[in-house]
Symmetry: C2
Subunit: 356 residues, 2 copies
DNA sequence: GTGAAACATGGTACCGTTACCACATGAAGA
DNA sequence: TCTTCATGTGGTAACGGTACCATGTTTCAC
């Protein structure tokens, strides 16, 4: 059975003041560099702090100053590869600036999200990062009223009211199609994600933009998916049944691309050779499949780093433009999109690697 | 540029008291159910709270009562699949009990871990979960002195001083070997993880235990890896070069098993048919490879749920045994370990699925 | 009828900081 | 000499709760 020890009392600012022979005000000024402190006094305070191993109580500070050096990261699901990468970046940056990160899983349910906002607002959280898709104008207004800064991933509650970080989804889709065309694809299908997600929508638009002028293009080359493996798998099956002559698939995200890979595998179709596959996101998993997945990589880490830096700047009152920050995506060609040339190249590099 | 709005002042307990026509003490008693409150009084307090949309300030509560309803989860790296799954479970349970979760990435560096402890102890964190491998007796003693409860994943600072949750690693290794033998393997290698990790050590012991009586066994069938994909890949290459007749590999964790798969693939060896592979952990990724990976699955979610439930019980003073909680692992046979029989079974199920 | 126990409520000193104001000193400029 | 201002320090009321103590009223058993 657990028995709390307690007892050990931690030094307070009063203890420091007493030991240093000054007032708490002076110690406080020293700690916050918020006023005059004589050089000698400073030394004796420093000594007292060392001797007592004193560290300011952040809770008391929080109460007095309404600032807790804590930010909240609300995302759909931390166990989702994309978001755990993002979380890592956010925490890295936050801890550099002396902030602590609280996370919450919304499962894209508005109620859960609101619950986090409620709970955390009276914990004096300094700011929020929303990577969740259910964050709406109502929530934004509430936070604004409370004076709590926030930034959003992918989509803001409405343009211009908050910083939004996302990557160039439309442009990425165009790159994907171009790449598929480059390697020789002549009939490309697209598995698109849930259209309430701006990322999915933009990628679909980019795809349509790129292919509509081709005579092989028909809207039945579009197939809905759910941004998950299973959805990608089923969508691919439907798509291939409808258009057995497809030679390229652009999946709206990597997980669906993995599903597509599985589907082709089951159907006995060689992915990368008979049908090329290109995903979107650049999650770690794309390196694990075989063939490895070609993908349009979002700079996930950079996005996380940028978004938390933006938030911290807002919190600390630095000038921050409340606008859309669109980051570049990058094509990472791998074996799931082999052209005749790249095929031979890939094989050559394979030999080289074996020779090491 | 961001301009904090502030202004909107939140109702305090004093506002509630005034509106309800009672004293703050009475409201406080009502809120905490910590004393007598008349039924009528209760109603008017309830009314006032509703009208003012009052919610207690957790920071003030924290200062007064040294309890913040916040726990910290210190893990090596949130972007690691295993730990993000774990984090999900921890947060799920914690939020059920009204707790908020702070996370920190230690990268298995003791210094970072200590830094988190320092930072968080004066945030009046209620308790710690350490999933990090650098948590030592010194840290434990410090927390104990401070009266801050903690629990550990996999390994405690020393037996009996804290709750430790892990799974049956040794037993799992035995299961893995048995499975490989069952499907017909006659020469099995093992890629073991870093031996300062108790999980890696136990799995190695389990492996040795299971194979040492066979005449084909020789210590050169053991190969070190780093618990990551690259390490597993290289280890497999070394292993296969040394023993080209190996027909089964037990990798110390799933990531290394993925590496092994990649290595075999490069060498032109059909994983699952010529050489069987079994991993350990049960991370999501094992379903993504092809062939899909057989693995000894740890009950990751249950482990996370249990560990946070233990911590919360400790925090709330409920009786908790400070002991080792060992959870069962489970063999998940997949295509990377096909026996002749299972091979035919697998193919049959494949046809069935296609027929759907 | 009386004392004890249960019920009900209010006052206020903390919890550990910060922010503001008051005050003192010495140097510089008019 | 008298302001003015930079420097340096201390006192203390917040911040928003909780917890303890004091005070009063009922209720009820003996």
């Amino acid at each position: 059975m657990y028995v709390s020890q307690e007892g050990i009392d931690i030094a307070t600012i009063r203890d420091v003041a007493k030991l240093a022979g000054v007032s708490v005000s002076t110690v406080s000024r020293y700690l916050n560099k918020s006023g005059y402190v004589n050089a000698e006094t400073e030394q004796s305070i420093k000594g007292a702090i060392d001797k007592l191993n004193y560290a300011p109580n952040v809770v008391a500070r929080g109460l007095a100053g309404k600032k807790t050096n804590t930010i909240a990261l609300i995302l759909p699901d931390i166990s989702n590869l994309f978001f755990s990468d993002l979380a890592r970046a956010v925490e890295d940056v936050a801890s550099t600036y002396g902030y602590t990160v609280i996370f919450g899983n919304s499962d894209d349910q508005g109620i859960k999200e609101k619950r986090y906002i409620e709970t955390l607002k009276n914990k004096y959280i300094d700011g929020f990062i929303f990577a969740s898709n259910t964050f709406g104008p109502g929530d934004a207004e509430k936070l604004q009223k409370l004076g709590i800064p926030f930034v959003c991933l992918d989509r803001g509650p409405d343009e211009q009211t908050s910083g939004v970080v996302r990557s160039k989804n439309r442009e990425g889709a165009v790159m994907a199609v171009q790449h598929l065309l480059d390697i020789g694809c002549r009939k490309i299908g697209h598995i698109y994600g849930p259209q309430h997600l701006i990322t999915a929508k933009e990628r679909l638009i980019g795809f349509e933009q790129s292919v509509q002028s081709f005579d092989w293009y028909t809207p039945t080359l579009l197939e809905p998916g759910d941004f998950r493996i299973a959805g990608g798998l089923e969508a691919t099956e439907r798509l291939m049944r409808r258009h057995p002559d497809i030679d390229g698939i652009f999946a709206g995200n990597d997980l669906m691309a993995v599903g597509a890979l599985k589907a082709l595998n089951r159907m006995g179709i060689r992915a990368g050779e008979q049908v090329a596959i290109c995903g979107f996101d650049g999650i770690q998993t794309t390196e694990i499949t075989s063939p490895e997945l070609t993908t349009i990589a979002q700079p996930i880490y950079e996005m996380g780093a940028l978004i938390s830096r933006l938030l911290i700047k807002k919190i600390e009152g630095a000038p921050v433009e409340d606008r859309l920050y669109e980051l570049d995506v990058k094509l990472i060609p791998r074996d799931s999109t082999l052209s005749r040339e790249t095929l031979s190249l890939a094989q050559r590099s394979l030999y080289e690697e074996e020779g090491q």
